[in-house]
Symmetry: C2
Subunit: 260 residues, 2 copies
């Protein structure tokens, strides 16, 4: 029997720019009598990484662009917010508003490559109305710095603790949201089984579990928005460290995008 | 600290038509000294439900239809397999083959409403080449029968044990696969937070975690294809039973499908 335990890390304060997340995580782990070791994985909500790194802006400081005013009118959104969404994006995928809906939807390709609603710009969970939380500048690097600091503090072998930075995305054909990985360190983003065989010896040609997305989605089982549990600890997972792993390994190349 | 444990149920035999899955699951749980109780959730791979229910067919028994021959030519697939894919589907969403690829892709809306590649028709993990495994006829009912039998056997309150039937789907914009829910019993498919507030008192208008899909994705962390672990047990999850829950709660209505 293989067993995996997932638990919350309780008591983290509201994160402010400049906070040392690693110190705070270690403090709270210690308070709940836990230590990290080789093979452990932390999933961390993007929001606290962005807040600690100051990846936030305020609508009052934004001067709307012409393009944003045009798009904002189509979807009935604040043109200042749309300006931020477009400045975070490299491509507009779809702008759509149903006549019955109050606000429409803007789907874009984020500069990090993720296709999502509103370029992952978030206005919930901020104690400051009008504040917009953006994705971290370089989530893979953020994850790597945290993973390395944790390995060092706990005396674990280099690259042996995994970190996934998650955000909450919708899906084109399914209702409800799940968490996905937007930054990874050490954990393989994809766990390729190419060339391996299934239980009956038949080659598994196209199966590559999206390991980092599975971890992110699993973290959602405990990371409720109300509960303020932005860091989730996984113990017992079997995985092979890949220090070159990156969240963009999970991105489908545009030429494979059937809806581009 | 909230904690969740996930473990495999080991030693299930290859499933054949007519096998009693509930009896087999109870036998293996007992062998690993586990009992189920209120709040436990099992995620079960679709494949063993389909096999037990006989939702399989063999390409040698299929006479290709005209439409299937036409589609098969476009994507370089066996027209007999395409016949089965189309007969499982209510709508062709996309047929596409890149010149460089050997086989193309057929995305359809399955009669159960799920949009996926090849109508979820699967030819891997069969000990019988040419055998195609279809989705179960009515996965919500399959899940409900299993959940009710388990509640009864373990003396748990009615509707207090959850069952999710999972399948492995690709995603339009992300590489790699994750498990999603195609059948549910008791566990809410969506865990709506509508009307509730976030940690800062701001209403959470659009957040509805796809709980059954989160459970399915999390099961993928232990349900490796090679490992033959088609049943995964979750203990410690907080959830409110909804006997009316169904997998189609996770389906985005066609009028909200921006790519229809």
């Amino acid at each position: 029997m293989r067993a995996l335990t997932i638990n919350t890390i309780e008591g983290l304060p509201d994160i402010r720019e400049g906070d040392n997340l690693v110190e705070l995580i270690i403090e709270k782990l210690t308070a709940q009598r836990q230590v990290l070791c080789e093979g452990d994985v932390l999933v961390i909500a993007q929001k606290i990484i962005s807040k600690a790194e100051g990846a936030v802006c305020h609508v009052d400081d934004i001067t709307p662009t012409e393009e944003a005013i045009d798009v904002a009118e189509k979807v009935n959104k604040d043109p200042r917010k749309v300006t931020v969404i477009l400045s975070e994006s490299t491509r507009l995928v779809k702008v759509h508003k149903h006549p019955a809906a109050n606000e429409g939807i803007i789907i874009t390709e984020h500069r990090l490559g993720h296709i999502s609603a509103n370029a992952a710009v978030d206005e919930s969970n901020t104690d400051n109305p009008g504040e917009l939380i953006l994705l971290p500048k370089d989530p893979d690097t953020s994850a790597r710095i945290i993973a390395e600091s944790l390995c060092k503090y706990y005396g674990a072998p280099e690259h042996s603790i995994g970190v996934v930075i998650s955000d909450t995305f919708g899906r084109p054909w399914r209702l409800g949201q799940t968490n996905v990985a937007i930054g990874v360190a050490n954990v393989p983003a994809l766990n390729p089984l190419y060339g391996e065989c299934d239980a009956w010896g038949r080659p598994l040609k196209v199966t590559a579990p999206a390991l980092a997305d599975e971890l992110a989605a699993a973290s959602g089982l405990l990371m409720s928005k109300q509960g303020k549990c932005p860091v989730i600890l996984f113990k017992g997972l079997e995985w092979e460290s890949n220090p070159d792993s990156k969240a963009s390994d999970l991105l489908r190349p545009t030429q494979e995008d059937l809806f581009a």
